[in-house]
Amino acid sequence: MIATITKLTILAILLLATTSQASYRELFEKEFMSNPWGGNREAHSACVECHASEMMKAPMREPVFAWRDSWHAQNEVSCHDCHGGGPDDASMSMSHQRGFKGTPTLQEIPQFCGKCHLGILQNFLESGHGKALLETNSGPNCVTCHGSHDIKPASIDIINEQRCSQCHLYDRAMLMRQALFTIEKRLSGIQTNLNELRESGILLQTQRKDFFRAHSDFRTLFHTIDVNLVKEKTDEFMGRLDRIETDTRAAYVELAFRKNFSGYLLLLFLFLAFGTLMLIRTGENKK
């Protein structure tokens, strides 16, 4: 009798324990596992699934292949980030309720890209290029220089004769290119240094952020297409880059110190090894 009651009690306790475990597990999964590092994150895009498939006509498949090699794709910016719609479900993928917008018109393009690139949109609309676009419904827009789906990181080579002489003489663009040149060269130099230092294990997170900020501010400034403004601000930017370069130089000094210290340890150990070997040899010769 008592034995049965004990067994039933133990069973009841275990059952309670397992059921409370079950609810704990749900809570745990909801709180713990839904974070970015919780896993279960899959890049799933209904847009890509349809547009990359064989049943699409070639022009409709083009954007996907162009996008795949782009800077956007590398930074996890995909179709719905610009065009709206719901990427997780094919039925909602082009839904206007989810904010879907197909191909933007020429004048809609700046706002389309400016959904994310807010700062640049501002400067562009106030610039000669922006005003030309709005007044004449032709003229340069984001796609003219950066492409639409095969977007690559911007560089000074976007300003070239072929592109910039479509509407006016190239000499205007050349003046801008010259104004940008010094800073651009320095930016690419510092970028190389930062990458090199990262390969060597020194990440310099704060300096990277400062660098991106300077680099971004400079590019945003360019979109005003105001050569005088760029020349005016050059000194300020040089100062900002000076500060970053002080830190990168210090990092190289640190790397040199590490090499020297390790070399010193190497020499110590080599001499110790050699000395021990000599001790062994002289001991054996004695015998």
């Binding site: 690139h117 807010l118 700062g119 991106f212 900020r213 010193y264 110590l268 150990f269 001499f271 002289t282």
Partner: protein, 136 residues
Amino acid sequence: MERRSVLKTTIALLGTTTLLSLGYPVLRFLSPTVRRQSGEKITIRKEEIPPGSARELVFEGTPILVINRRETGFIALSRICTHLGCLVGYDKYKGQLVCPCHAGVFDLDGQMIAGPGSAPLRQFFLTVSATHVTLG
């Protein structure tokens, strides 16, 4: 025999040097880092920041925003966006902080609510008195 004793002494010396050369780094590795207070203090009168508005300043080399939130009071947040480092701006109409580079949006507690990245904005310690707010 003499050669052996010279060798032995040399090895003993080198060995001691090696131990010290390894011991010193380990000692410095283990020593707690002394956090030197920069001593910088910024005091602002509360009236200078009316409710719903914010003030941009630089504290300890970092650009920050001191916001007077309507419901929850003062907060000091770093303006450096946790995505790639651009400076966020205060949108007083929407009560949000917006980054102009990739449209990252933060609420007035510094938590990210939209955009790339995920880490919240760094918060700075703020002392609030009856008439002033003090940083540092």
